[in-house]
């Protein structure tokens, strides 16, 4: 179908997203986004040591509430992450996602950041759980995401307050 807003690749991932759902007993769950802006993503990872002793993300799933771009970027990041070591996964950038989708409309670029944030959070949780050192960049990013979550919670509460009279 002709749609000049999204690339055919984006529409393909949106209509048939890969790896959706959740993982029971996941090793890490990353959450990013907020309901006020209308994009919320949860990324689940299962990590296993390969025969060289490296930690490999063997399974990854997502659940996303959001627009076509948010669902497509969720699908793409699961493809990119699957089978990668933790270190490799941490090098994935929003540019990698946008490349796979052959471009995103400028206003939708933030959706690719959402996916990267959710992945970072999932890995952060995994490392924390296994008492492993957390790279400085990841720590900084985690603090930024935590802060913005608090920020949005406050905005949400204000919203509830403002609409209470209804």
């Amino acid at each position: 179908m002709a749609n000049n807003f999204y690339s055919p690749e984006t529409l393909k991932h949106f209509r048939n997203p890969h790896n959706y759902g959740d993982i029971k007993n996941a090793d890490g769950v990353g959450e990013a986004g907020n309901i006020i802006c209308g994009d919320v993503m949860s990324l689940y990872i299962k990590v296993k040591k390969d025969r060289h002793g490296k930690e490999v993300i063997e399974a990854v799933k997502f659940k996303t509430y959001g627009c076509a771009a948010a669902i497509a970027t969720s699908s793409v990041i699961t493809d990119l992450v699957k089978g990668k070591t933790i270190d490799e996964a941490l090098t994935i950038s929003k540019g990698n996602i946008v490349d796979v989708l052959k471009g995103l409309p400028p206003i939708k670029i933030h959706c690719s950041i959402l996916a990267i944030d959710a992945l970072g959070e999932a890995i952060y949780q995994y490392l924390l759980k296994h008492k492993q050192p957390i790279p400085k960049d990841l720590e900084t990013k985690h603090l930024r995401i935590e802060k913005s979550k608090l920020n949005f919670q406050e905005r949400y509460n204000k919203w509830q307050e403002a609409t209470k009279k209804h």
Partner: protein, 389 residues
């Protein structure tokens, strides 16, 4: 070949073939400028005046009270800015609008605020209705104009404009209403309903795009916002869009003959669509007023599903609708109308407007509901917010 079901008549309508037929000669044979003295010009002018009379009669106005413009946006800009500036000499600098106006009224009001005018934005209840008592309280001795949308373009709620107009007149305040969505669906008589200015648009009623009008009561002090050759009694200069105006008139004329019956039919389809969605899909809610509602408007929130995704999925299945989701807007903010009605973010983002029209059939409603069940279930599988509750 995928079906094509158009349920976005509130965005725009196709031109009725009967309207197009009457317009055609004005592009090639009757192309004269209405300001020209020769026969070609006067012939075009006569047809424009015929259309003016049809439209004036339709709303109970006099032909000289109809000003043709290029769009409802222009009409609304003219109503607000034109009266604001013309009445500066009366030291009236306060305007009242609601929080659910169309962007063209909202942005005009914001702009007037920047120019030093005072603006009050009235709240609405959860159904999108204005409380007349709130309006009374908001009016003060400096109030010049009240502008309130008749039938809301997003949620379809219809205001009691007769009562609102009465309050305005009791306080000696001008009353403007944007009737872009309601004209043809609700009978309007500007004199009986205490309306001083009214906006109506051609492309919402099966006429061409690029033409609309503003009814301006003779007693209203107003200035043009487009200056030039003095067309439209000096209120709106520009070479007259004769073909468009003839089409607008023809479109209105069809409502003279068929409007009543069509509205009844639309109400039946509307209620059927609402009932079938609410019954067959869990986690849905109707937005806007259940009864005081435009005959062609259905606005529903699907919990756990984001509106842009749903719009896209429906489009893949051949169904064209609109959404109030932030993701579909340029600002990434959810619709100000839904927010004003107190919807939670997750409800506002999951809202879809279905607007039916002249060529919608009962089988289209059934196909839409069937498709909705399928795609809503599909999208909810990806959603972290829906667990079958």
């Amino acid at each position: 070949m995928v079906k094509q079901i158009y349920l976005d008549y509130a965005a725009t309508t196709p031109v009725d073939p009967r309207v197009l037929k009457l317009m055609m000669p004005f592009f090639t044979k009757k192309f004269g400028n209405t300001m020209s003295l020769h026969r070609l010009g006067q012939e075009a002018n006569n047809s424009v005046e015929d259309a003016r009379k049809i439209i004036a009669d339709f709303i109970g106005a006099s032909p000289e009270e109809i000003v043709f413009t290029s769009s409802a946006s222009e009409s609304n800009n003219l109503a607000l800015k034109g009266t604001a500036f013309a009445n500066k000499i009366r030291k009236k600098n306060h305007i009242i609008v609601t929080k659910i106006e169309h962007d063209c009224v909202m942005e005009s009001a914001h702009w007037l605020q920047q120019q030093g005018f005072k603006v009050t934005y009235l709240t609405v209840d959860k159904f999108g209705l204005v409380d007349p008592e709130e309006l009374k309280k908001a009016i003060n001795s400096n109030t010049l104009l009240v502008s309130i949308i008749h039938g809301n373009n997003e949620i379809g709620s219809v205001q009691d404009i007769k009562k609102i107009g009465k309050i305005c007149h009791d306080h000696n305040v001008y009353f403007h209403t944007d009737a872009s969505q309601s004209i043809g669906k609700i009978p309007i008589n500007v004199k009986e309903m205490n309306i001083d200015m009214l906006t109506a648009s051609s492309h919402k009623i099966y006429g061409p795009k690029g033409v609309a009008c503003l009814y301006v009561n003779k007693r209203v002090l107003i200035e043009p916002i487009i200056h030039g050759g003095g067309h439209e009694k000096g209120l709106r200069s520009s070479t007259t869009n004769a073909a468009g105006i003839v089409g607008f008139g023809a479109a209105v004329d069809i409502f003279n003959k068929e409007g009543k019956k069509e509205t009844l039919r639309l109400k039946g389809l509307r209620d059927s669509l609402i009932k079938k969605i609410l019954k067959n899909i869990k986690g849905t809610r109707l937005n806007g007023h259940p009864v005081s509602r435009l005959a062609n408007n259905v606005n529903i929130s699907f919990i756990g599903v984001e509106g842009e995704s749903l719009t896209m999925e429906l489009d893949f299945n051949g169904i064209a609708v609109s959404t109030g989701s932030a993701c579909s807007s340029k600002t990434l903010e959810p619709s100000h109308v839904l927010t004003a009605c107190g919807l939670k973010p997750e409800e506002a983002h999951g809202s879809i407007r279905f607007s039916i029209g002249r060529w919608t059939k009962e089988e289209d409603i059934d196909y839409t509901v069937k498709t909705l069940i399928k795609v809503v279930n599909k999208l909810r599988q990806f959603s972290p917010f829906y667990h079958g509750k």
